[in-house]
């Protein structure tokens, strides 16, 4: 069964025909060529496919594409503006919070959703926000430091 749906992704409107049983992750990657959300466990456990759906971080492998009809989606592709990296992206680089990079887009989106909602997170808030994102390379310490630093810099920019 096909459904004509509309998605607003990183500020741009897309109309796309999706199959009932295809996940948002599949449609983003394979129909729209938006590949920052990664196909990891496909089981809602690793967070590599995290996108922000109507302001909230979700696993795009756990959402049917048709369920997202009419919604607003943010992915890592939309973070940099006019060639300038987002403060979170800069902080991840500065703190060496990236190694293989597979978890990074998901980490960035979970972190962005946190900072959009809570600009002054405690370390505990950051840990709770990132608990659904697995990283097998860096250890989480550098990632948490990067998010803290980005929060401070984003506040200073305001």
């Amino acid at each position: 069964m096909l459904h004509e749906i509309t998605l607003k992704i990183n500020g741009e409107e897309y109309q796309v025909a999706v199959k009932s049983h295809h996940t948002l992750l599949t449609v983003l990657r394979e129909q729209l060529g938006i590949t920052s959300p990664k196909r990891g466990c496909e089981n809602g456990e690793c967070g590599a496919c995290t996108v922000i759906l109507d302001g909230k971080p979700v696993n795009s492998c756990m959402v049917l594409a048709v369920e997202a009809d009419g919604s607003t989606i943010e992915t890592t592709e939309g973070l940099a503006k006019d060639g300038n990296l987002h403060p979170l992206q800069e902080a991840f680089i500065e703190h060496n919070a990236v190694q293989c990079g597979f978890c990074t887009p998901g980490m960035l989106m979970s972190a962005k959703a946190l900072l959009d909602f809570n600009p002054h997170p405690t370390e505990e808030d950051i840990k709770v926000a990132l608990a659904g994102n697995l990283c097998r390379c860096t250890g989480y310490y550098r990632i948490i430091e990067a998010v803290k630093d980005a929060a401070v810099k984003m506040e200073a920019e305001k």
Binding site: M1, S20, H21, G47, L53, V58, C61, M62, S110
Partner: protein, 286 residues
Amino acid sequence: MRPFDYYKPKDFQEAIALLSQEGKKTFPVAGATDLIPMARDERWLPDIVVDIKALPGLRELKLIDEGLYVGAAMTMNEIAASPLVKSTWDVLAQGASSVGHNQVRNRATVGGNIATSSPAADTPPSLLVLEAIVVVRGPEGERRIPITEFFLGPRRNALKKGEIIVGLILPTPPEGAVGSYHRISRRHGADLAIVGVAVLAYPKAEGFGWRVALGAVAPTPIRVPQAEATLSAAPGKPDEAVISQAIQEAVAASRPIDDIRATAKYRREMIATLMRKAIEDVLEKL
């Protein structure tokens, strides 16, 4: 994943007609966090998936005469953050905030959590001590099922084909009631509970009334009446001897299994540890 058809009806008549079709495997879906992995592994083989999020009342959370009404499609994060839930039914907020991780809690719903009927689900122990009532609509109209009669076994419940969980009624607990939910899992976030314990207590004429429920240690989430009676019989706050006896009775009432997450022996020890923590929490707040 085997293909299926998807519908998002706006009224109950259409939803129930879609779900009642003979010869088709039909699934109501709200958060889809159980459906998608099960369908992907082809352990569930839906022909028709009916999204119930647009049905009237499913996304409501409001005070009613009997207490609190929680629409079945309210998400775990919405429940965990709700000032209304936290005011009087906080033990449910604690259960909801223990489910999975943030991304899952933004999708998973309380209706889905009970419909899937995993013995290890995190909201049922809280719903049991709050004596929730499940509101269901189906081909024969609306009916109300006490949560104690809802779960029939692992992934089995009292729902009939074509029925939809509309919401939950949480009766207002006795004046001064406080609750606590504790759970343990292998990974903090994402993994199912190895054991979950919900405790609720409230002042009564002499001493306190106690309710205790356990998750992941029997074919369904359970209340433990003997342990509750022991705690409630204490003239004031239960002392160490009473608490130890109640814990032993709760452990004796459980029927845990060995599985990939833990052994039965470990689960029994964790019932004791978590029940003590939950009782201590409650005693501090009483």
